[in-house]
Structure formats: C-alpha cells, structure tokens
C-alpha cells in the first residue's frame, strides 16, 4: 500500500434535487483494500456512490481514479475505466436469464475468452447461480438476486467495486454468507471494494478502513478495528449498552463529534 490511492474523493458536494446530500466529503481507497462508509438512512451514502459512478454530477469537488479526474464523466465512460457500481436493492434485469445478466456485466469488455473464464469464476463463488443460469433473474429469491448483482459486477473484472448496501433486506444468515464471499473475493482475487452499509458490525468486520457519514459529512474515520472499539460507534451503530459505572442512558449520551 504505497503511492497514490486508487480512488480519491476530495471535498465532494452533490445535490439530490434541491437538497444538498453530500456536503464536502473527502476519502480515499487504496488498491486491494475494503473501505466501508457507515451511516444511517439519508446520510448521503448512496448519493456518494452515485456521484462516483457518474449517475449524478457533483456540484463541487473532485473524484480522481488512478490519477485521472473523472467527476462529471458519462457513466459508461466511468464503467470502462473499471469502476463498477453494484446498486442497492438488487437491480437485476428481471426478464433476462442469469447468464444474460452476467454477460451484460461484461458489456464494455471485448476479450471473449477472458470473459468466459470470469463467468466460471463467478459460478465458483456463487454456485447457486450456475444452477440457475438459464432461469429468468426476476424469478430468483432476494438473496440470489443480490448474488447475481455482485456476480454481474465482477464480470467487468473491476478495478474497484462500489457496493451499495448488499445486506439490505436479507436474512442475517444470508448476510453472513454474502459477506464471507466478499471477503474471499478481496483476499483471493484482490478485488478493491468500497462498501456502503447501515449494518455497521458486519461491515467493520469485513473492511480494513471505515468512514462514518452523517447528514452529508464524514464525521469519523480510521482503521476498522479501531472504529469497532470506539465508544461512539459501539453506542450508536453497534447498539451495545455500556456497562459503565454511571450507566448513562443511551438517549442522554451526546455524540462526541457533535
């Protein structure tokens, strides 16, 4: 982990309609890392990802990827740089088969034989997709659709994967399973990830570095292990009661960053 970070966001400001959803966010992701951005509903996490992947244009600030400034570029240009966005809520192509969904993940690639190898790799990590490869994606269960969305993202052979709440609406068991696979993908295939989550515990267990976002700002950041030990994170994101001698009530506590 040397040299310039793979992805660097500087003082990004972005509007969601009339609302300023991101108010000056800076963060960086090193190659090979998993970086997680935690935050509640409406903190601006999804807007941050959409601004990076070019679906939304920033008002101010810069996004640089691999040394080049990419903010405001057309989404398909950004995808062909190797940035893939796995959207929230498992946005698959419902009437296309699993196989066709995967092929579309490699839409910007031309190297056919390598694409087929990557398809096999996706099937290795998600065997259920191999079983269902000719089935329409809309008929898969929620968890399988999430796996398909991740697999489809992998088909780009991305340099970085932006994951928007992969745990959303899944059973705890499935969340465990999917996060275990994400961890393996990072270790075995070296996939760099930026992971946006509300489920702080599982995200911090997986990630190397974490950022905490509240109403459009980064309020805290650091190594995932350190964040996990932080009293604020424990109280507000992990929901642990401290057994302190004064045993303050949770609602009495003030966040130290306010």
């Amino acid at each position: 982990m040397m040299g310039a970070p793979l992805l660097e966001v500087r003082n990004l400001e972005s509007f969601y309609g009339p609302i300023m959803a991101i108010r000056g966010v800076s963060l960086s992701v090193e190659e090979g890392q998993i970086v997680t951005v935690l935050g509640a509903n409406g903190a601006g996490k999804s807007t941050l990802l959409k601004t990076i992947s070019g679906i939304m244009d920033p008002e101010k600030g810069s996004v640089s990827f691999d040394g080049a400034e990419i903010q405001g570029e057309e989404p398909h240009r950004i995808v062909s740089r190797g940035i893939v966005h796995v959207p929230e809520g498992r946005e698959v192509f419902p009437l296309l088969s699993v196989d066709e969904n995967l092929s579309l993940g490699a839409y910007t690639r031309k190297d056919r034989s390598a694409i087929e190898r990557d398809r096999e790799m996706v099937f290795e990590y998600f065997p259920i997709l191999a079983e269902r490869r000719h089935q329409e994606a809309g008929t898969l269960s929620g968890g399988q659709q999430q796996m398909l969305a991740i697999g489809r993202g992998l088909m780009l052979r991305p340099r970085i994967m932006l994951l928007d709440e992969p745990s959303l609406g899944l059973s705890p068991l499935l969340v465990q399973e999917i996060f275990a696979i994400l961890g393996r993908l990072n270790r075995e295939e070296g996939v760099t990830m930026m992971l946006v989550e509300q489920n702080a515990r599982i995200a911090l267990e997986l990630a190397h570095v974490g950022y905490v976002m509240e109403i459009g700002r980064i309020v805290m950041n650091g190594d995932a292990d350190r964040l996990m030990q932080s009293e604020d994170i424990k109280a507000f994101y992990l929901g642990q009661q401290e057994a302190g001698q004064r045993s303050e009530k949770r609602w009495k506590r003030k966040k130290t960053w306010r």
Partner: protein, 291 residues
C-alpha cells in the same frame, strides 16, 4: 373456402397492424412513452418508397428503393430522438405523448405537401395478381405480406436474443438505472431503438402500400394498431404481433357475419373486453420486483 380467403386477407392486414404495434411496443419498452406518430411513420415510409420507385418520381428499381427507404426511415427515427426527444429527458411522459401526437400532424401535412392528398399506388412487384392454392384464390400481396412479416419478426427475435446490442436494448428497457451501471450508453441505445422502430414502420408501410392505394391519412390506422398493442399487452413484442393478427382477423369476419354497424367496432369491443378481464393484455410480461 370462403373462410380461408377471409382468414388470409385478415392475417395480411393483421401483419401490418402487428408491425405498427411492434413499433409502439419497442418505443414504449425503451422509453416508457407512447409514440402516437407510429402510424404516420408507417405512412411516411410508404410514401418515401413510393417517391423513390414510382415512375413519376425518382423511378429507382423497387429492390433498391425499398432497402433505401427502410434506411432513410431508420435514420429519421434516430435523428428524431437525437434532435428532439432526447431534450425532453426528465420531463413527464405526457410531454412526449403530446409531442408525438403533434409530430403525427406535421408528418401528415408535410407528406401532403410533397406527394399530394390524392390516393396513390405504389408500383410494387409484391402486388401482382393472385395465386391459387388448391382452389383457394389468394392475393399475391397478402401472401407476400405474411411471408415478409414472418421473416422480419424472426430476424428481430434473433437480433434481440443473439446480439450484444439487442441484449443491451432489452436491458436498457427492463432496468434503465442498472443498464447505466453496466456501462451501456443508454441514451444512444434508445436512439437506436427509435431508429429500429422507424425501420419497422417503413417495412409496414411498404407492405401496406403493396396491398392498396395510400394517402397521407393512411397513418390513422395506427389507432387500430394501438388497440392491437394494448390487446397483446403493451410490454411484449410477440404480444404486439399477436394483437395485430387478432385485430386483423376479426375485421373481415365481423364484416362478413355481423351487421354493418357492428363490424367496425369489433376490434374496439375486444379491446374493452381485454382491458376489463386481462388489463395487462393477453401476452403481458409482468414481473413484480422482489423486495
């Protein structure tokens, strides 16, 4: 025997409706707007072919004029999207609908100015004589229409299933946001779909003009094609074609066996029945999103 003849001429009419309905559905699936000028696209395609091939105009051989007209109409559709419709991106669907209705008026007017308002006949080699099959006399034009429609449908199907662009078009129409995330240039793909629907309309126009005279108001039969698209299910390509065939077949039989006043409303009566009993159409592809 009589029945077979009615059926074939009904099917031939139905193919034309079906091809126009196909255009409706292509645009609707891609952009979620209805192109009410689709019938006028068909009329324009017919007149462009006529202008290229008839003796009093350019007098090109038909087999050059027809592909050329299809290309011109494809280009017309693409340009229309590029120059006008793309700028309505983000506006309400109503804006697009009103715009296409107005566009229909403009196309009708312009065609009238260029080619006159009198009915004219396309000098088409598809339109010669009758064929007789085992005692049944069929119009050559009707047979040609059916054959061409089957071929076109088959190639469209192959295009959507087998090519990367076809797959991307399906993807962009099923989930636009996700298509962006895959790196599909969605706006350009939508422009190409407008081009494709222009080309389909041109084929429909050539076939329609091979069956009889055309005038600038011929595009109004787009309304029947619209009914066909709704009957078939507005999101389904095979449904559009089937809806066209159903409407086409009902017409001659209703004209034959029902009293004069009722036959004309038969397709719309069916439309109402479908809307009441199967509101998504007969062949709809509806898949609700899992949460």
């Amino acid at each position: 025997m009589d029945g077979v003849q009615l059926l074939v001429s009904g099917l031939a009419n139905g193919c034309v409706y079906g091809l126009i309905a196909l255009g409706f559905v292509l645009i609707y699936k891609a952009t979620e707007a209805v192109n009410f000028a689709q019938g006028d696209f068909m009329m324009l395609g017919a007149f462009v072919t006529l202008g290229l091939t008839n003796a009093e105009y350019l007098h090109l051989p038909f087999w050059i004029a027809a592909p050329l007209a299809i290309l011109i109409m494809a280009f017309f559709g693409y340009l229309l999207d590029l120059l006008i419709l793309r700028h309505l991106f983000g506006q309400s669907q109503t804006a697009v609908v009103i715009l296409t209705i107005a566009l229909g008026f403009v196309i009708r007017f312009v065609a009238g100015v260029i080619w006159g308002h009198e009915p004219q006949t396309l000098e088409s080699p598809l339109a010669f004589g009758d064929v007789s099959l085992g005692g049944v006399v069929l119009g050559m034009a009707d047979v040609a229409v059916i054959v061409v429609t089957v071929l076109l449908t088959w190639s469209l199907y192959q295009f959507f299933q087998r090519t990367k662009l076809g797959l991307a078009m399906q993807a962009a129409s099923q989930n636009q946001m996700a298509a962006y995330f895959m790196g599909i240039p969605v706006k350009r793909v939508q422009g190409l779909i407008w081009g494709l629907s222009g080309a389909t309309a041109a084929v429909a126009g050539i076939l329609f003009a091979s069956k009889g005279a055309i005038d600038p108001n011929a595009g109004l039969l787009g309304i029947k094609a619209f009914a066909a698209a709704v009957i078939g299910g507005f999101g389904s390509l095979p449904g559009a074609l089937a809806g066209g065939l159903i409407v086409g077949v009902i017409e001659p039989f209703a004209a034959r066996y029902l009293a004069a006043g009722y036959s004309q409303i038969a397709p719309y009566a069916l439309l109402l029945a479908v809307l009441v009993f199967r509101p998504h159409g007969l062949f709809s592809q509806v898949r609700t999103k899992k949460v």
